[in-house]
């Protein structure tokens, strides 16, 4: 097909390149826009026509992390001069920082929700990938009666709509006192990710030649030693890819976090939208919270780009 290139083909290809560029720009525009908004001063966030050129500010991030209240009276010139730079940023925005009786700065809800997200996502990822890897090895290397049925059962646990499972889980959790705890969410997300982790890891482990372990066994290793010293290092890339997928799913989950948590263990996905509320939301602060929340995802997407296809189509492509 490429042997003879007519001028019309060249023109067609040029059009395709332009189309791809336009589509890419359209697809990235929303993400760019939220990022830009996160660095705008408040008065430029909601202007018409939209402000495209502006001096980036970090005041949305300062406001995101600190508890603030409306400024009732303007600070005196002395107060303003004595205040540290970040406090002045908040003054400029028409607000002041809330302090407790001892004059300590009060943090907003965001840092703790972000930490909750990290705790829950990392713990459940470690558990899901750990258990998943062992189970995948078990299925890959040993004879299991009804292996296909078990694997299908494991996969089928992912087909349920989350809201359907949420009702009995909520009742069970209330019974065990697991509502609004980190442990509760960690268990849920582990259960959520486990099937996925088993299927992905089985694919990776199947590809490691059995001869490697057999050689190790002949050299006097036990099965467990062979597993830890030979198989695990060989599966490292697979484990990393699986871990990132599990992390993204736990990091982004909303429905269960909304239902199972209120305050103590609430993660960022239900928290950030709850800050919009009614009245006039400060979109720059919300955009800043969103932007910080997207950073890990963006980094992982780039690290993972070569494994994405495999992970997304797990089980389906393989057959």
């Amino acid at each position: 097909m490429a042997a003879v290139k007519t001028s019309s083909e060249v023109a067609l290809n040029r059009m395709a390149v332009v189309a791809v560029l336009v589509i890419t720009i359209i697809f990235l525009a929303p993400i760019y826009w939220i990022t830009a908004t996160a660095f705008k001063p408040r008065n430029l966030a909601t202007t018409i026509p939209p402000t495209v050129v502006f001096e980036p500010e970090i005041s949305p991030f300062v406001k995101l992390f600190l508890r603030r209240s409306q400024l009732r009276e303007q600070p005196t010139a002395e107060e303003y001069a004595e205040a540290p730079w970040w406090e002045r940023l908040v003054f400029d925005g028409g607000e002041k920082i809330v302090r407790d009786g001892q004059g300590n700065v009060q943090l907003s809800g965001y840092p703790s929700r972000f930490m909750n997200s990290l705790i829950v996502a990392i713990s459940s990822t470690v558990l899901a990938v750990g258990m998943g890897t062992l189970t995948a090895y078990g299925f890959s290397r040993f004879k299991v009666a009804g292996e296909q049925d078990w694997l299908f059962f494991i996969l089928s646990t992912r087909m349920l709509p989350p809201v359907v499972v949420a009702i009995p889980m909520f009742l069970m959790y209330r019974w065990f006192g697991l509502n609004d705890t980190h442990l509760g969410l960690i268990i849920l997300y582990t259960a959520f990710n486990l099937s996925f982790s088993v299927w992905l890891m089985k694919g990776f482990i199947d590809e490691i030649p059995k001869e490697y372990e057999e050689a190790a066994l002949v050299d006097g290793y036990t099965r467990m030693e062979a597993f830890f010293k030979i198989v695990l290092p060989e599966a490292a890339t697979g484990i990393a890819a699986t871990a990132v997928f599990c992390f993204l799913i736990a990091w982004n989950e909303y429905a269960f976090a909304l239902i199972m948590t209120r305050r103590d263990a609430q993660t960022a996905p239900p928290f950030i939208p709850s800050q919009v509320g009614s009245g006039l939301p400060d979109w720059t602060v919300i955009a800043a919270g969103t932007f910080l929340f997207l950073i890990p995802v963006a980094i992982f997407t780039f690290l993972l780009r070569n494994h994405l296809l495999r992970g997304m189509s797990f089980g389906a492509i393989r057959k």
Partner: protein, 301 residues
């Protein structure tokens, strides 16, 4: 001989330190996972099946009364529930069709010699890696009637995307299309790259037209993998909760999972909502089966 004697006498020899038997290892590796999944997936399902036959309300301490099939009967006779299903069906059709058209279209474009193809593909994948709740939130900003960038860019003035009852569902679908077209694109690209090049060469020699080549070579060979993308997306779209819940509160955009959430966690009709959950579950299983049958047919061709 010497080495053999050494091995048998050495306390560190394989026989002396074989460790766990293969059977023990297998069971220790597999059983915890199976038990975990049964406890946290199968048990809750049976638990709520039980509740679906009662009038239990999780907000009170009143004991649950057995009401038989009354919940199911009430739900299946409720026109509002049926309208929720109709809304969901409309949403699934609009958003999945949109994703297939956009995703497959972009994949066709990317299947040519495009500079920075790898980088562009990765950038296009970004939307689907984000949290649906957070995506919903920032699209709310983009859709804003008075200062949203979308109205400005399209010159729509103060168009109400999310509070217009007729538009809200499409607005949610547009966001969903933005988020998940990349998924269809990714699978389509895999399918397209697997089409043998010699088929195109043969078609070119036969002076086959673009349309003929597309419908007789490309589409049939990509169909199975495209079908898989459609199955995944249909199931996910049927389950959609976060995006629609955050974007709009229009009754015309109330998907079945939002209805279920409200019934279970705002009205606290636990028994009734368990029954609705089961009806939904049966539908998901049914839809999946139809698709899988169709998929097998496509594959056989």
């Amino acid at each position: 001989m010497a080495t053999l004697a050494m091995t048998t006498l050495d306390p560190q020899s394989r026989a002396a330190r074989r460790g766990w038997s293969d059977l023990t290892i297998r069971n220790a590796f597999i059983i915890p996972t199976i038990v975990f999944l049964i406890v946290f997936n199968i048990f809750p399902l049976l638990y709520s099946l039980g509740y679906s036959f009662t009038d239990f309300r999780a907000s009170t301490n009143a004991p649950a009364n057995f009401v038989g099939l009354a919940n199911y009967r009430a739900l299946l006779n409720d026109p509002f529930i049926w309208s929720n299903f109709a809304i969901t069906a409309k949403y699934v059709i609009v958003s999945v069709t949109g994703q297939v058209v956009v995703g497959f279209g972009v994949a066709m474009l990317l299947n040519r010699t495009i500079p920075f193809k790898g980088l562009i593909t990765t950038l296009l994948l970004l939307p689907m890696m984000l949290s649906m709740a957070v995506v919903g939130l920032f699209w709310k900003l983009l859709y804003d009637p008075s200062f949203g960038i979308i109205n400005y860019a399209l010159g729509l003035g103060r168009f109400e995307w999310l509070s217009d009852p007729d538009m809200a569902l499409y607005a949610v679908a547009i966001t969903d299309i933005w988020m998940w077209s990349p998924f269809v694109m990714l699978l389509s690209l895999a399918g397209l790259s697997a089409v043998p090049k010699h088929l195109y060469e043969a078609a070119a020699i036969d002076r086959a037209g673009t349309f003929y080549t597309f419908f007789r070579i490309t589409l049939p060979l990509v169909a199975p993998i495209l079908m898989i993308a459609i199955i995944f997306r249909t199931m996910e779209a049927f389950k959609t909760f976060d995006l629609a819940f955050i974007l709009t509160s229009q009754p015309n955009a109330e998907l079945i999972s939002i209805r279920l959430y409200k019934m279970a966690f705002q009205e606290w009709q636990t028994g009734m909502s368990s029954a609705l959950a089961y009806i939904m579950l049966i539908m998901v299983v049914g839809i999946t089966n139809i698709y899988v049958k169709y998929l097998n047919k496509v594959k056989e061709r």
